[in-house]
């Protein structure tokens, strides 16, 4: 019986993989459902097992079964590794994704699984923490804080109980690496968390997954049940979010696990010292934890050898939006933004010129093509007024209205604000109003109230367009410095970058004459 491999990743399902799998099963094939390699332009992807190895075809529809099995189909790719999209990738974290049956323990073990955990168990906790430090691994969720240092703090804090929490609340538009890993190689995350548990002396872990990822939730639950014996005495459980973006913020996530409103806590105390239920807690992103098995199995040096500057190792970059070859691209840091968008991504899907690229999700900056020389590196992006965040890249063609995107950023912040700080809660709504006035070229006229002589500090005149823009910048400044967490604090990135790089979209000139005093 011919064996064929077809992904059951949520993206493949959305593109019709189930019908394709059924058609191959009806044709008498043994169908193995895998994760996705992450090049969605060729999904649904089918790999047929032959004497020369797996031969890939894609995209494949249910009617293509005979042609594919006959080897004559026009969508024949050959060995998937030879596809240009894969040629330059360095797959450390995603090595198994697309290759194996995600829930098969035998597959996982056969493809190098558990080696990292076995190595870790043979080491002292301090040696494991040292290995993570030596690898140079930094938090892949956003801020890029060194993972080993976080673990050291938890290891050094005495307590009767400690926890490992995985932040799988991947809410950023343009990001899907966490989802793909959890669906496509869940044991990798489990292994990383078990290593973390051994390293800091934690007995229990939580994986907090957003409710928008039903397939990842199901895969992780099943994988936890099947691998319980392998990671014992360490135990794991899944917690499901409830549609609050701010729960991606680590302290809000902890409150949510505790059963409360997901409101951000002030730091200090650091979660590493007083985290979940007041106990020392390692809280890391999916990609950070999933990088750990490689580091322990292959050695910290093998990981640190790849990268750019102080950004070591690989980053699973997600190329999304209006792009031809969107998908997951894991490579060492240092690749430029232009290479990612134009060479690897192949430019826009619409065929129109690229106008803007947002990096790092809804709180990330928009960059014009003139900044495509930027290397993918935490420091380089920070210097350019942006952030890497979770390494999502969203491409826009020239039909985009950047004032609309800036408004959207403010609106999103207003909807998702946890309400704790005024600049975020109120400022974001004010920001929407301001941008509306700016684009309508209808600056604010002096109201009846303000012209009353007893109101001394109100403006007595209408504001010009320039003054409205100035006010927007001022508001952004207040949000940036007066907000407790990234939601209010980083919303200025998309707004200001849109304003800085695309001022033409915000209109100019002043429709209203200055009102007389």
């Amino acid at each position: 019986m011919t064996r064929v491999f077809i992904s059951k990743d949520m993206a493949s399902l959305a593109l019709g993989a189930d019908a394709v799998a059924q058609a191959f099963a009806e044709a008498g094939c043994e169908v193995v459902r895998t994760g996705s390699y992450g090049l969605f332009a060729i999904e649904p992807l089918v790999e047929v097992e032959t004497d020369e190895g797996r031969v890939a075809y894609g995209p494949v529809g249910p009617d293509d079964v005979a042609a594919v099995l006959g080897g004559s189909h026009g969508a024949r790719i050959g060995a998937i590794g030879d596809h240009p999209f894969f040629a330059r990738q360095q797959r450390f974290t995603f090595a198994r994704c697309g290759v194996t049956d995600p829930l098969s323990l035998a597959d996982y073990t056969a493809h190098g699984g558990w080696k990292g955990l076995e190595a870790a168990i043979g080491l002292s906790p301090q040696d494991v923490v040292d290995a993570v430090k030596a690898s140079g691994l930094r938090g892949r969720g956003g801020a890029g804080f060194p993972t080993g240092i976080k673990w050291q703090t938890v290891l050094d804090t005495p307590a009767d109980e400690k926890f490992i929490v995985c932040n799988a609340d991947e809410g950023d538009s343009g990001t899907f690496a966490d989802r793909m890993l959890m669906e496509g190689d869940p044991y990798c995350l489990i292994e990383g968390m078990a290593i973390a548990g051994h390293a800091v002396g934690a007995g229990h872990g939580y994986i907090y997954i957003r409710s928008e990822y039903p397939f990842a939730i199901e895969a992780m639950r099943e994988a936890i049940a099947r691998s319980a014996g392998k990671i014992a005495p360490f135990t794991l459980e899944v917690r499901v979010g409830a549609g609050a973006y701010v729960c991606g913020e680590e302290t809000a996530l902890l409150d949510s696990i505790e059963g409360k409103r997901g409101q951000v806590r002030a730091k200090p105390p650091l979660p590493a010292i007083e985290g979940l239920w007041g106990k020392p807690t390692v809280i890391n992103n999916v990609l950070s934890l999933a990088a750990v098995p490689f580091i322990l199995a292959e050695g910290a040096q093998a990981y640190a050898d790849v990268g750019f500057g102080r950004s070591r190792g690989t980053m699973p970059i997600q190329i999304a939006g209006n792009v031809r070859n969107g998908g997951l691209y894991e490579v060492g840091f240092g690749v430029t933004l232009g290479e990612l968008v134009n060479e690897i991504g192949g430019g826009t899907a619409s065929g129109r010129p690229v106008r803007a690229v947002q990096v790092g999700g809804p709180l990330g900056a928009y960059f014009p093509p003139s900044m495509f020389h930027l290397p993918f590196d935490y420091e380089a992006f920070a210097q350019a007024g942006g952030l890497i965040g979770h390494a999502g890249i969203t491409v826009f063609d020239d039909s985009v209205d950047m004032a609309h995107m800036a408004r959207f950023a403010m609106e999103f912040c207003a909807v998702e604000s946890c309400g704790k700080c005024t600049p975020c809660r109120i400022g974001s709504t004010r920001g929407v109003e301001l941008i509306d006035r700016i684009v309508a070229k209808a600056p604010r006229a002096a109201g009846a109230l303000e012209t009353m002589p007893q109101i001394r500090n109100a403006s007595r005149s209408a504001r010009s367009h320039d003054q409205e823009v100035e006010l927007l910048r001022d508001l952004c400044d207040t949000m940036k410095h007066g907000s407790l967490c990234a939601l209010g604090g980083f919303t200025p990135y998309p707004v200001l970058s849109a304003l800085d790089h695309f001022p033409e979209d915000f209109g100019g000139g002043n429709a209203l004459p200055e009102a007389a005093e």
Binding site: A11, A14, E170, G321, G326, V400
Partner: protein
């Protein structure tokens, strides 16, 4: 109609699991079983978890997912986040809303279908995307809007 005895039974059953920080998992369990979290469930939940009713209400109202009214028979969740916008999401939203005869964020009066926003499904390279009764659908164009509309009328 509020099935208060049923709610109590579900709460009692859940409490046997001895879950730490049980409120969210319990609310998910109730919504799964009854389709929504009935406001009448607040007092027994507060009792079971030794919380105030205000705390329970505060949590239910904080999270977008928890509904306090029965949902429509079909729910279409359309992604409105940036990547889907960059692929023409706004036009698809307008068409879908027109075809379904319901505004974004609302349920149709006859209870047949609701159109809800969602901010990213993690399918960002193949948008615009939606979940149609929990089934993911990608690359939505005019033809797919029509197909979705006829599917949810059934």
């Amino acid at each position: 109609m509020t099935d208060i005895a049923g709610i109590q039974t579900a709460i009692d059953r859940f409490m046997q699991s001895d879950t730490r920080g049980a409120l969210l998992p319990l609310l998910h369990a109730l919504q799964e079983e009854f389709g929504h979290v009935d406001p009448a469930a607040v007092p027994p939940i507060a009792d079971a978890l030794n919380l105030s009713r205000a705390e329970v209400h505060g949590v239910i109202s904080f999270y977008h997912d928890f509904r306090t009214e029965a949902p429509a028979r079909h729910v279409v969740k359309l992604c409105r986040a940036e990547s889907c916008q960059s692929r023409g999401g706004a036009a698809i939203e307008a068409q879908l809303s027109h075809q379904l005869g319901v505004a974004m964020g609302h349920a149709r009066k006859d209870g047949q279908v609701a159109l809800e926003p969602v901010y990213c499904l993690g399918l960002c390279a193949i948008g615009p995307n939606a979940l149609v009764d929990d089934r993911p659908v990608a690359r939505i164009d005019s033809a797919r809007v029509v197909a979705i509309a006829s599917e949810v009328e059934a």
